[in-house]
């Protein structure tokens, strides 16, 4: 028996409303693929993706399926499997808007929201075309005279609050606390999001706060709005300590996604096979 209300993957996907700002975890921090497929089935539109700091197959699939209006990211790539073809196609044909960013800026904007301050300064960036194309970023003179750089110019980035964050993790405990291990960027994302939903491989009969070691690797339930079981919920992406990335499936996807027609075919198959239990 657990002391929280379990929901389903479909329930989570329904929380992703048209035009919302959706937090997207990187390929190493638990990609919620089972929910992503449900979002695509729901034909959700106008999504704005906020990647921390990048996305792989999840973003590419959502873009190829026409669910996305805008993406803020440091990169979209299939990593060792090459470029992200649906993303490339969407940019080259102006189908979606892009806010090109850099990893530490994506972190800093969420950190501002964590602290409830209006902006966060960050070094670097100046002199790049990233800065020139971001009218939401500004530059100030360092108002505190504590730098060895005379008359230092520094970029300030606005606080960003996400509407909703979804990620996949290994375990939840009976009280709805979720194990995130060292993937602390998931905590940053969660702190900066209005709603947080998590899919997990398993629910274990213990409380992580009974162990100091486990507690340090936990996102507490106070930040979490709903949890669903989803075995293999990150597939074909990997999940640390559970399963590796599925190299065959990733190669198959990379090939299929080159053209919209073959991508559509691939997605029809992907959706019709029931790849995830507990949905």
């Amino acid at each position: 028996m657990v002391n929280f209300t379990q929901i389903t993957v479909k329930d989570i996907a329904k929380e992703v409303k048209d035009n919302c700002l959706l937090g997207i975890p990187a390929d190493y921090s638990g990609v919620p693929m089972s929910v992503t497929i449900e979002i695509i089935k729901n034909k959700t539109k106008g999504l704005r993706l906020y990647c921390l700091p990048l996305t792989t197959i999840q973003g590419d699939m959502l873009i190829g399926s026409g669910c996305v209006n805008e993406i803020e990211t440091a990169a979209v790539t299939l990593g060792e499997y090459g470029q992200a073809p649906r993303f490339q196609n969407a940019i080259e044909n102006s189908k979606i808007n892009i806010k090109d960013s850099t990893c530490p800026a994506l972190h800093a904007q969420l950190q501002a929201t964590e602290k409830s301050v209006p902006f966060m300064p960050l070094r670097g960036i100046l002199g790049s075309d990233l800065y020139k194309n971001r009218n939401d970023w500004s530059v100030i003179d360092n108002p505190i005279n504590n730098s060895n750089t005379n008359d230092e110019k520094i970029v300030i980035l606005p606080a960003v609050q996400l509407d909703i964050l979804i990620f996949h993790a290994s375990k939840a405990d009976i009280n709805g606390n979720v194990q995130i291990g060292r993937r602390r960027e998931l905590a940053t994302l969660a702190h900066a999001s209005k709603k947080v939903y998590v899919t997990v491989e398993e629910i274990v009969d213990e409380d992580f706060f009974d162990s100091e070691l486990k507690a340090a690797a936990t996102l507490p339930s106070l930040y979490i709005d709903g949890i669903s079981l989803a075995k293999n919920g990150a597939w074909p992406c990997g999940l640390t300590d559970y399963y590796d990335i599925d190299t065959n499936e990733m190669s198959k996807y990379a090939k299929a996604a080159k053209y919209q027609e073959t991508f559509d075919e691939y997605m029809r198959d992907f959706i019709s096979q029931n790849n995830y239990s507990n949905i």
């Binding site: 990187a26 190493y28 921090s29 921390l52 700091p53 990048l54 990211t73 440091a74 990169a75 979209v76 790539t77 990593g79 060792e80 499997y81 470029q83 992200a84 993303f87 490339q88 940019i91 080259e92 044909n93 102006s94 892009i98 090109d100 960013s101 850099t102 990893c103 530490p104 800026a105 972190h107 950190q111 960050l122 070094r123 670097g124 960036i125 100046l126 002199g127 790049s128 075309d129 990233l130 194309n133 730098s147 750089t149 005379n150 008359d151 230092e152 110019k153 520094i154 060292r182 993937r183 602390r184 960027e185 998931l186 905590a187 940053t188 640390t240 190299t247």
Partner: protein
């Protein structure tokens, strides 16, 4: 002597550039720099100057515990000596473009994106630019998009920046004051004239121009027996193609 692959020669050259470093970090999709760093680490194992290697896409070789921002925070604190950056295009003033070619934002050819370059390029003292393909389309006169600039004015905090550029044809050093590259070493498979023709920007030539150093048999043995199996863990496609096919 066994046949030595081109990639192994480049790995060996990069490894030589890491001589005095204490901490080298490796970002996304960088199997050759990753192999080079692990090689340097292994060769220094029994010396007093240990080398810390952080490979972001690895569990064991990534000792950060504060989330993926910790790399950037640690770099800004000056705790990383060397980092590698690539580029769709690199120009003669060491500006790098990881975004795409054509007119932004509706590019002719879109690539992945700038990753952490717009901070790392400013704060890590030794940035090694690595781009295997050495052609006029990769080494250009002027990049189409600046992900991170090669040089900055004095009112920008910038302890770091480009020190070297290495390709499959040559190794260049970068002079921040003169804003130019100088060729230091050349792959013996190519002539200087061929390198000039395949480079879109002008560069200086070291009077004492050397060839790439061939790795010793001992180094090749270390690379194939000890480093390759490690690389297989986090760059499986690369390692399989080079060493395990």
């Amino acid at each position: 002597m066994t046949e030595i692959f081109q990639s192994e020669i480049i790995i060996s050259e990069i490894s030589n550039l890491l001589k005095d470093d204490k901490h080298v970090a490796i970002g996304a999709a960088s199997p050759i720099p990753g192999s080079a760093a692990l090689l340097a680490q292994e060769e220094r194992k029994n010396t007093n100057l240990k080398l810390q290697v952080t490979i972001l896409h690895s569990q064991k070789f990534n000792n950060f515990t504060d989330g993926s921002r910790e790399l950037f925070d640690a770099a800004a604190q000056g705790r990383i000596d060397t980092f590698f950056l690539g580029g769709v295009q690199i120009d003669g003033e060491a500006n790098i473009n990881l975004v795409g070619t054509g007119r932004y934002p509706k590019l002719d050819k879109r690539f992945s994106g700038s990753f952490g370059s717009a901070l790392m390029y400013f704060v890590v003292p030794k940035i090694i630019l690595f781009r295997e393909e050495h052609t006029p389309r990769t080494l250009v006169k002027k990049v189409d998009f600046i992900s991170a600039p090669g040089i900055s004015p004095p009112n920008i905090y910038r302890p770091g920046g480009p020190k070297y550029l290495i390709t499959n044809k040559a190794l260049f050093s970068f002079n921040k004051k003169k804003k130019n590259f100088k060729i230091e070493k050349i792959n013996p498979e190519f002539t200087l004239d061929e390198v000039i023709k395949s480079t879109g920007f002008e560069f200086k030539t070291n009077k004492n121009l050397k060839y790439f150093t061939m790795p010793s048999q001992k180094r090749i043995d270390v690379l194939r027996n000890l480093i390759a199996p490690k690389v297989l863990n986090f760059y499986p496609q690369f390692a399989k193609k080079l060493w395990f096919n």
